[in-house]
Symmetry: C2
Subunit: 325 residues, 2 copies
């Protein structure tokens, strides 16, 4: 067994995580830090460097056995050159050559990849997608992001922009999306979409404890409130979650008909809703898909929790080091 290893880094707008992962896919150690995003790119690179070294030190392994570093970062970016353009949650970043900078700092090959792709790859490599050749992962948070694996490899497309699952159109004259289009699934099946669904009904007079919970201030509504209200027996809140899940099931039926995947993995804060979400998602997705792929596709929760990103970043780096893309 080789003692060589990779470090995977999950670069978020607030927190930074790292993990030492061996070639045989074991996590040996973890570290975390504040991203210090408000201090600009150089401070963030300082933090990444320190967080990588923290994990290496914690692992007890020798730095000479560090093969490569993989970094999952917010897009847009060029995954091939490792240049990060200007992510909304990394202030002051403009075309930062993150892969080159980190290679100079750490003395090993560094690879940068879109954060949703990295989460997908982590679940594919070591989590809920293990053993699949075709899978997709949907990140259900403020927005709806995604990653896709086909032929056993991340689907990046010609420019690296593929897998924008949140921008599948599900309604011709639907809600206006931040991307400029109408009817994107992100406007229905993310926390933002769920809040819009809830507020539309409340504005029309729906009776619900949510009105009190948000102090009659529409801007104060959170996804957590909707989940809590449903758990307390509020029928309207339960309907809002079911409606959100129905939209998600519709989009997933399209993915199933298009990709015929073994797994559809749901990831992110919203999956805490459990059966209340997964029940209608599975029912609707199966009802609207063709029989063979509909029966085949397992719609399941991500398994690695907060580790999907660091593991996926390590996995992507190992693959790229070996020339597999």
């Amino acid at each position: 067994m080789s003692s060589q290893f990779i470090v995977g880094v999950d670069l978020g707008g607030t927190n930074l995580r790292s993990a030492v992962v061996t070639e045989d896919k074991r996590i040996v150690s973890r570290a975390s830090r504040s991203t210090d995003a408000e201090k600009g790119p150089e401070a963030v690179e300082d933090a990444i460097q320190a967080c990588v070294m923290d994990a290496v030190e914690e692992s007890g392994l020798g730095k000479e056995d560090l093969l490569a570093v993989g970094i999952g970062a917010p897009g847009p970016m060029n995954w091939q050159t490792g240049v990060v353009y200007s992510p909304p949650n990394l202030p002051g970043w403009k075309n930062v050559p993150l892969a080159d900078d980190m290679r100079k700092r750490l003395g090993v090959p560094c690879y940068v990849e879109n954060d949703a792709n990295v989460a997908c790859y982590g679940e594919f490599w070591l989590g809920a997608g293990q053993g699949a050749e075709n899978m997709c992962l949907l990140t259900l948070g403020t927005g709806l992001g995604g990653g896709i694996v086909t032929h056993g490899k991340l689907l990046r497309g010609i420019d690296g922009t593929a897998a924008e699952i949140g921008h599948l159109k599900v309604e011709r004259n639907g809600r206006l999306c931040g991307c400029g289009a109408t009817g994107c699934i992100e406007q229905y099946a993310s926390v933002t979409g769920m809040k819009k669904t809830a507020l539309e009904g409340i504005a029309l007079g729906a009776k619900t404890v949510l009105t009190d919970m948000m102090g009659n201030d529409f801007t104060q509504l959170t996804g957590k409130m909707i989940s809590e209200a449903a758990d307390q027996g509020d029928e309207y809140a339960a309907w809002v979650i079911e409606e959100t899940a129905t939209w998600l099931g519709i989009a997933i039926s399209s993915l199933i008909n298009l990709l015929n995947p073994e797994r559809v993995v749901l990831y992110g804060g919203m999956i805490a809703a459990g059966d209340r979400l997964f029940g209608p998602v599975r029912k609707v997705a199966k009802a609207l898909s063709f029989e063979v792929p509909g029966n085949r596709a397992q719609i399941i929760a991500a398994e690695l929790g907060d580790d999907s990103g660091v593991i996926g970043a390590a996995g992507v780096a190992l693959d790229r080091l070996r020339g597999h893309y």
Copy 2:
């Protein structure tokens, strides 16, 4: 240059085509026959065998240099075993081991593949998709079928049912589809969908020459009539085509956001409408996609005409013979 070759077969419900294709992608000869579908599976296999031999004879090449035969057939089927289940337009077929039967008859490896995949592969290999790593092809006829290439290979999914582009959901409470779901794009952006759009408006009193052309009998409307009426200056018919193209553009924007392909190739009878179709398709697809993939994806007509199927079948057979799937 080797004189070895493959024969590609395009098995339709009415007509059968074959072509001799060399390893360096040249078509040397073609043949065609009636499928004789009404006589059942054995008669169809007789016809395939004869059609293959016709093309070989016509080519002047020696049968001993025939490497393999590829057959594009209507689904559903198992592409790995070459068993064709029960296609609607091949009466009497039930789990016919077409690949095995033809291998016994012809003495060379035979491969069977879904007809839309084969058309896609033909355009990828030698037509409008040449040089792309990622593309999709939409077959626009009575229905809406499709094929997808990712990572330079046909996307089949785990059961071979992938690329059912006609069953992307574009409207939650939309038209009922033959597949049992509602709002599938096939119900809007195929000839069937275009006719439905036309008839909905006529039923509501739209003024159009189509009413006379179909002799006031709704069952007599054809896609060709709509195209002709538009060419004659009928504004309603022109609107119907634009509306159909708009739906198609919406679905293509989803494909562009999901796959980030170099090319989106349109294929089948409907593309005869030319700019009247392609104009709004391109405009809508670009407007609703992300900027980078929207600018990248070329939406173009298939280039091989009736040869897409035979060339694609030959290409798939050659790949599979060499172990590339």
